[in-house]
Every structure is written in C-alpha cells, then in structure tokens.
C-alpha cells in the first residue's frame, strides 16, 4: 500500500521536532501518540510562552499600575485578540475565557438557560454528544421543566438530518450540537443545521472541542450563537477554554459567577456588572492559559489549516484502510464525512485489554466509552478502542498501531 501522496508539501518531521514529548521511549519503544482527541501534545513555543510569562511578566491583571501588571494585562488581552482572529469573531467582547469546553457549556446552560428556557420548552441535542453536552442540558431541564430531545444517528454514526428537522419546532429554544464526534469521528454539518434551527427561532450552541484543531473555525460563517472549545486540544495548555457568544446575546445574559473583575461597582445594596467579556470572567483568571493558548494558535496558523487538514485527511484514509483490512477488527463510526477519529472493536477482545497491550508497544490509544455512553449504547457495545490523529502523526504511526493490534490478537489468542 502506497503512502498517501498529498503529504509532499507538509514536512511532518519538522513539525514533530517542535513537540518535545513526542521524542521519548515508552516501555522501551518509541512513543506513538494516538490519543489526540483526549488531548494533544504541546509544541515548544507553547511551553516557552508559559515559562517566559512566569519568569518575566507574572502579575495580576486589570488592576495594577505597575509595569508587570501592565505587561501581563496586555499579554492576556493580546491573547484574546489571537483567539478572536482564530475563530473569526466580530469583536473581542465576544470572546470569554473559561476553563474548558465543559465550563463554556455550563455557563450557557445556567446563565442563558435559566433566563430563556421555561417549562414545556425543548432543547435539542444529537445522539453523539459528549457527556459535557448532555448533562448541563439535563440539569437545565430539571430546573426549568423543559424537555430534552435527541436527534438520532444512523448505523454509520451520521446524524439523520430529516429526523433532526422533524424534532425542530416552535418550542425548540436551544439546539446544542457537536461539530465533530469524539467517539465516532463524524463531522456534523453544523452551518446547515444552524440555519434550520434559526428558522424556528432556536438559539444554537456548537461544541467545537474536537473540531477546532482539525479545521479552521469561522463563527460568522457558522452563524451559531455560541461556540465553545478548549485550549488543550488545539496544542495549548489545559485549564483554558473559550466561550464565544454573539454580542447581543451575551449582553442580554446575566453573569454566571459573581466576584472580582466581573463588576462595575459594588455596594452592600447592589452591584452592577462589568462590560463584556469581563462580566463572565469573575476572579483572577488563569492568566498563563490564554498566553499559552495564543502561542498555540499562532503555531497552528503558521502551519495553516489547509495543510493540516490535507495531511490528516490522507492519514485518516490510510488508517481506515489499514485497520479495516485487519481480520477481527471492526471500525465503529463510518459516516461519509469524518475527521481524525478511528474508533474500533476487536472480536472477543475487550478494549481495555487492547489498550494495555498496545501501550507495551509504545502506542497510546484511548479505551472506554469516551464520555459518550449513549453512543456506546446505540451501537450495543460497552466500549471501544480509539485512535485519534493530529498534525504530527505519520503513516509510520499507523503501521506501528496495526502491528501492535496484531500483537493484541497474538497475546489474547
């Protein structure tokens, strides 16, 4: 089998050399890191940016008049501009820093949801959501008396768009959907679905947690009302996420948490709220987080999503072909449009055993339900093993995985 030719202009060796963690032995074997849907490795520029901040610029932001505080504040706000450009938001007022995707969804479900969702209203999600895009809506339904509706997926793991449309109605207040399934790799046509949701007057949240490191995000083109993603999957640090919201909607939404930084003025009788986006950023934030994330964003933009996407698509096709050619291995999630993720099961072998054995070959994959238990139930399986690709993976990584899977079959007899 020939290696895909589309990779000619993409110097994956040069890219790999930027990621120090990739260069190590695990159980005496070179690391093959295929757990990118859980978190990606960090390029040196990200590690350096965080280190530099703590070595030179560390101070609290937005309040000091001294030099370090001014520098830290500027770095923090410059990072917001990098994020704005990354997702093509109209303004930095629409970019709220959070801890992660989960926190972003919870802010919307609580602050926006409690204000806008009432008994009998409906919230529509899809059958392939991560628990983080299910549970906050269930909690909102419990608080408000609203009803959670779930748009089904077919046997390939693709969303059944007609069924989604039938579930939309005048009571639909919120449509919350992933752009890319972490358990199946399905790409969801969120722009098209957003148009349909808006036609019935629903507000739309797109969970871009998985998508944001595989293809360029344009929140204006998607036209969604909220977009959430997390820094640690776009090669940035953990503990930093982003909630994008259209300005008018964020303006009309009450704050989620009260405290310092989010206020205009405070007396014991009453407080007023700060302007956007600070209204949603109570307390001292994770200052080095956006700084590290901005370094990651500049790194990714420097390579360009066109090349990244071409490389990863060719690699996904190669991996799909090699893995599905193995006897006794079945890929779960075969939607026509996919990215990055190959979830699979092996005849008579539990995914946990797969994970342990390939780890001894230096191969890191994820095993389990991937925080998507309803997806596992849909396919009637307890768990899968999952290989997920990033820009630094190679056809050699896939070859090693395939060899390791053969080793699994050998060990398990």
């Amino acid at each position: 089998m020939a290696a895909p030719g589309a990779l000619a202009t993409f110097d994956v060796a040069a890219i790999r050399s930027q990621f120090p963690a990739l260069d190590q032995l695990v159980h005496g074997k070179p690391l093959v890191y295929l757990d990118n849907a859980a978190t990606t490795q960090k390029p040196q520029v990200v590690i350096d940016a965080i280190r530099r901040y703590y070595e030179h610029d560390n101070a609290n932001i937005h309040r000091g008049v001294h030099a370090l505080s001014e520098r830290a504040s500027k770095m923090y706000e410059d990072a917001r501009e990098d994020v704005r450009a990354f997702i093509n938001a109209r303004s930095t007022t629409e970019v709220v820093f959070t801890r992660n995707t989960t926190e972003g969804i919870n802010i919307v479900a609580c602050a926006w949801g409690d204000e806008n969702v009432a008994a009998g209203d409906e919230i529509l999600i899809t059958a392939m959501e991560h628990h983080s895009n299910i549970v906050p809506w269930q909690q909102l339904c419990k608080r408000s008396g609203a009803i959670l509706k779930v748009a089904p997926i077919d046997d390939r793991g693709a969303l059944i768009v007609e069924a989604f449309e039938q579930l939309l109605g005048p009571r639909t207040k919120m449509v919350a959907m992933t752009q890319l399934s972490n358990a199946l790799g399905t790409v969801v046509p969120v722009a098209e679905l957003t148009t349909k949701a808006h036609a019935v007057g629903a507000t739309v949240l797109v969970d871009g947690s998985q998508a944001a490191y595989h293809f360029a995000t344009d929140v204006q083109a998607l036209n969604c009302d909220f977009f959430v993603f997390t820094g640690h999957k776009v090669y940035g640090p953990t503990g930093i996420g982003v909630l994008y919201g259209k300005e008018a909607i964020l303006e009309a939404t009450p704050p989620f948490m009260g405290g310092g930084d989010m206020i205009g003025s405070v007396t014991f009788e009453e407080s007023t709220w700060n302007v956007l986006p600070y209204k949603f950023e109570a307390g001292t934030p994770h200052i080095s987080g956006p700084i590290g994330l901005a370094a990651a964003i500049r790194f990714v933009r420097g390579i360009g999503f066109d090349s990244i996407h071409a490389h990863e698509s060719a690699l996904l096709a190669y991996a799909t072909e090699r893995i599905s050619a193995m006897p006794g291995v079945t890929i779960i999630g075969t939607a026509p449009v996919k990215a990055s993720v190959i979830s699979f099961v092996m005849d008579g072998i539990h995914p946990h055993d797969i994970g342990t054995i390939v780890d001894r070959e230096g191969v890191a994959v994820r095993t389990g339900h991937h925080c998507a238990q309803p997806v596992m139930d849909r396919f009637g399986i307890p768990a899968t093993a999952r290989a997920s690709l990033a820009m630094y993976n190679t056809t050699a990584d896939i070859d090693t995985l395939v060899r390791a899977l053969a080793r699994v079959q050998e060990v398990m007899g």
Binding site: P351, H369, P382
Partner: protein, 149 residues
C-alpha cells in the same frame, strides 16, 4: 514483553474465553452489581448462601479479560466455602494486588489466585482485577452496588 505474559497468563486467558459460573442464578439469597464507571465494566454477582456456607455463586456481565477472569476464578474459589473463608480470601487478594511489585507474594493464602499478582505491574488494571471482589463484599454486606474507579 515478559510483564505482558505475566499479566495475561494462560489461566486468565482460559477463564476469559470460558468463564466458569457464568450466567443467572435463580435462587440467589445475596446479590450485588459491580460497576467500574471508568471503563464501563459491569458485573452482577448472585450467591445462594445457606447458614454460613456459599452453596452456589454465579456472575454475569461484560468486562475486560482481567475482570472476567477474576470473577470466574473468584467464584470457583469461594463456591462451597464459608462466608468467613470468602472474607479471608478477599483480604488476601486485596493484600496481593496492593503489595509493592518489589515484594514477594504469600502464595500459601491465595493459591490459584496468585495468577493475578502480575496485575501489580499495571496500576490502571488493578481495579479490573478487584471489581468482582468488591462486588462480593457488597453482596455479603447486603449492599446492592459496588464501584471501583
């Protein structure tokens, strides 16, 4: 590679392929569900106890080779024995899987179950080996649910 074959010993693979005492138990007097939320392993343990003796025991559910083989070997080990003996075995098993890898295992107490000593090399898998035992403890104490995570 040796630690892998240490983990997946032939006895374990055999009990994974052909689990003993696998299925439902109609006249159970004690029952508990074990669940490892981290990996989705689920098992139901049902015991028929008369006086202080475990007359019969069966398990059902889905899990990895380690958790399935552990449940299979456990049921074999406690069937026909007293509750007190089963509890002693629980303690011995627990001690074995939590003994540092550098220390020897006291095989006199544990017998055939010593095949699980290799799990100590795989910290993420200790829970798999322990699930059946925690479920047993829950069933004997009258609790309905055991969890390892």
């Amino acid at each position: 590679m040796s630690d892998l074959t240490e983990l997946y010993q032939e006895v374990i693979l055999d009990h994974n392929r052909r689990p003993r005492n696998f299925g439902a138990l109609a006249d159970a007097t004690h029952r508990a569900n074990g669940h490892n939320p981290l990996c989705g392993d689920k098992l139901t343990l049902a015991l028929h106890i008369e006086g202080d003796r475990i007359i019969n025991v069966m398990f059902d559910g889905s899990g990895c080779a380690i958790s399935k083989a552990s449940a299979s070997l456990m049921t074999d080990a406690i069937k026909g024995h007293t509750v007190a003996e089963a509890e002693t075995l629980f303690d011995a098993f627990h001690l074995m899987v939590t003994t540092p890898i550098s220390d020897p295992i006291d095989e006199s107490q544990i017998g055939k179950l010593a095949v699980f000593s290799g799990v100590r090399e795989f910290p993420a898998r200790v829970k798999c080996a322990s699930l059946a035992w925690h479920t047993l403890k829950a069933a004997l104490s009258g609790a309905q649910v055991a969890k390892t995570e």
